[in-house]
């Protein structure tokens, strides 16, 4: 019977014929823990009678949400995880590599056809590698650490077919925001989203990661891009995996199909306080902002920083705006550094911080005060997400964020380019 990628991955990993809707106990190829949800997962592992983790080589650990430790509590949490890693023989990337999803991908801990779980909702990012990856809570993660498997309800798939070429300074973030606005914050709950079509085929891994990253903002369990030549090149560069190519069969049964044409797409902005509240940048242009954040697992890669630099050119950022640039990982930081992009940001007046989640979770640093407005390239604009409850967060692409940082008000990047 014709199958979707998701059905094929579960069938392969479970060694039997599996279809959407089945509830299965499936082995996992990787389990990711970070400093916020990891400590609780370790507690649950022990409470469930855990002694040794199922396979230390399949456990991925790093600290990014409150890294370097921003408080005594964070320091204690990280110490607890370091001790656990040592005792269990788990390789710990600690605070030195960057944001968990970027690090998991660039360290080659994910391959096409894998089932990967993580104690973070944006674990769906790894679908860019053609893996089935999903976020889980700490108790489920403790269960995985102990048993190496987890119950899954195999999701139906929404096929998102994307066609057309992006205009200048319009890209993957604008597409995924547009899609989130159309599908809605719960429009894909319990489903997988398969991103396909000519636009996705032309897209590099960075853009594919941006799209898969935000699948959760539509409630999806996973977002996936069918493995192709782009994936294969990425695999050869970053992983030691045996190439397995799972693509949906012609005639596979989908929950639904949605078509998107990016030819006429203009820069998109998610306005406070919901990610699916998405408008054309022109609808909010002129809104004064107090802070701009360029970074995160959504848009902190070299390609994103290069897009920002392309808009910035030799200008300076507005004196009325605090600009935080945080590369998603040490590797991406180095790429940008060597390309001279970091120097440009610093000259223009940005604070370039070491790779971490930064203000995205509103708990560490770079918070906004009451009544302040942030424009960010991250993935959530929930009330209070970046600090004060009465602050406001707008989301957009690196290009739009940079244009906004130059003028001090939300700006269409095509106007300053």
């Amino acid at each position: 019977m014709a199958k979707t990628i998701v059905e094929k991955i579960f069938s392969e990993q479970c060694g039997r014929n599996i279809s959407a809707g089945d509830v299965v106990m499936a082995p996992v190829s990787g389990a990711m823990l970070h400093d916020i949800t990891g400590p609780l997962a370790i507690d649950k592992f022990y409470e469930m009678g855990g002694d040794r983790v199922f396979d230390p080589a399949k456990v991925i650990m790093m600290f990014d949400h409150q890294a370097p430790a921003d408080s005594l509590d964070a320091a204690e949490n990280q110490k607890k995880m370091r001790i656990f890693a040592k005792e269990q023989g788990i390789y710990n990337y600690d605070i030195k590599e960057g944001v968990c999803h970027q690090v998991t991908m660039e360290k080659g801990r994910v391959s096409p056809g894998d089932i990967v779980v993580g104690g973070d909702s944006h674990t769906c990012t790894y679908g860019a590698a053609g893996a089935f990856a999903t976020g889980i809570g700490s108790t489920d993660l403790g269960f995985v650490l102990r048993f190496g498997c987890l119950y899954f309800r195999v999701p139906e798939t929404i096929r998102a077919e994307v066609s057309g070429r992006f205009s200048d300074l319009v890209g993957p973030k604008d597409l995924i925001l547009k899609m989130t606005g159309d599908i809605g914050a719960d429009g894909a709950t319990y489903r997988a989203i398969e991103f396909c079509g000519e636009t996705i085929e032309r897209m590099g891994m960075a853009g594919r990661m941006t799209c898969c990253n935000m699948a959760i903002e539509m409630g999806a369990k996973a977002g996936l891009v069918p493995p192709d030549a782009v994936t294969r090149r990425w695999c050869e560069e970053y992983t030691s995996c045996t190439w397995k190519e799972f693509v949906s069969d012609p005639g596979a049964t989908y929950h639904s199909t949605r078509s998107f044409d990016v030819s006429d797409l203009v820069p998109q902005v998610a306005v406070p306080h919901n990610v699916d509240h998405v408008v054309d940048v022109t609808a909010v242009a002129g809104t004064p902002v107090d802070q701009v954040f360029i970074g995160s697992c959504t848009n902190g890669r070299y390609e994103d920083l290069a897009e920002a630099a392309q808009v910035l050119k030799y200008r300076s950022f507005s004196n009325d705006v605090r600009v935080l640039v945080i590369p998603a990982s040490r590797t991406e930081y180095l790429k940008a550094l060597r390309a001279g992009i970091i120097e440009r940001f610093v000259e223009a007046g940005a604070l370039v911080e070491a790779p971490c989640c930064g203000p995205c979770m509103g708990g560490s640093f770079g918070l906004i005060a009451a009544g302040e407005v942030s424009f960010a390239t991250s993935n959530r604009n929930f009330r209070g997400r970046q600090g004060s409850t009465s602050g406001e967060v707008y989301l957009g692409s690196p290009a739009t964020a940079t244009a906004t940082a130059i003028t001090g008000k939300i700006t269409d990047p095509r106007e300053v380019a």
Binding site: G49, N77, T123, G219, G363, R380, F382, R385, T389
Partner: protein, 162 residues
């Protein structure tokens, strides 16, 4: 299989209440759980926390969307919420409720007023809202067993005889 039954007054919240609103990121580093009950729903309505003891939380669609933080469920339990009823719930939050033994009911056409008396029985997929019976979407037998055991940890300890 045993069930969890209870009754309590409805405390109502709206649609798309995300886990950041249930417990904000700035409180997640703590190991002191009393911090959770103090600050639960702080960014949504700071007066809500004091009304949750013994209450049944009634929500609109997409409850618990966003972050996977299980601390959101811990915060509701610490604050004394007996059960959660929603028109729909985000996947990770829903699963976290089951895993922590917090009864969760999905009633797509849910209609309820603040303070209505809610009675619930996890095994029957049935609720009484202000005396009116409503059906909730059925849970799988395994989910009901995990709930009845008080959560996944107790369930596993029982299954593995530890």
């Amino acid at each position: 299989m045993s069930s969890i039954t209870g009754r309590g007054p409805a405390v109502c919240i709206g649609d798309d209440v995300d886990t950041d609103l249930i417990i904000a990121g700035r409180y997640l580093r703590t190991k002191d759980r009393s911090v959770f009950q103090e600050h639960v729903f702080e960014d949504l309505d700071p007066t809500l926390a004091a009304r949750l003891q013994g209450a049944v939380l009634i929500a609109g669609k997409n409850l618990g969307c966003g972050s996977s933080r299980e601390q959101a469920v811990v915060a509701l339990q610490q604050a004394g919420v007996q059960a959660v009823v929603a028109r729909s719930a985000a996947r990770i939050f829903f699963r976290n409720c089951i895993n922590r033994g917090l009864p969760v009911f999905i009633v797509p056409d849910l209609f309820c007023h603040e303070g209505n008396e809610i009675r619930f029985d996890t095994e029957k997929n049935e609720l009484s809202i202000a005396g009116k019976e409503v059906r909730s979407l059925p849970l799988s037998a395994r989910m009901n067993e995990i709930l009845a055991a008080g959560g996944l940890v107790s369930y596993i300890r029982r299954e593995t005889g530890r």
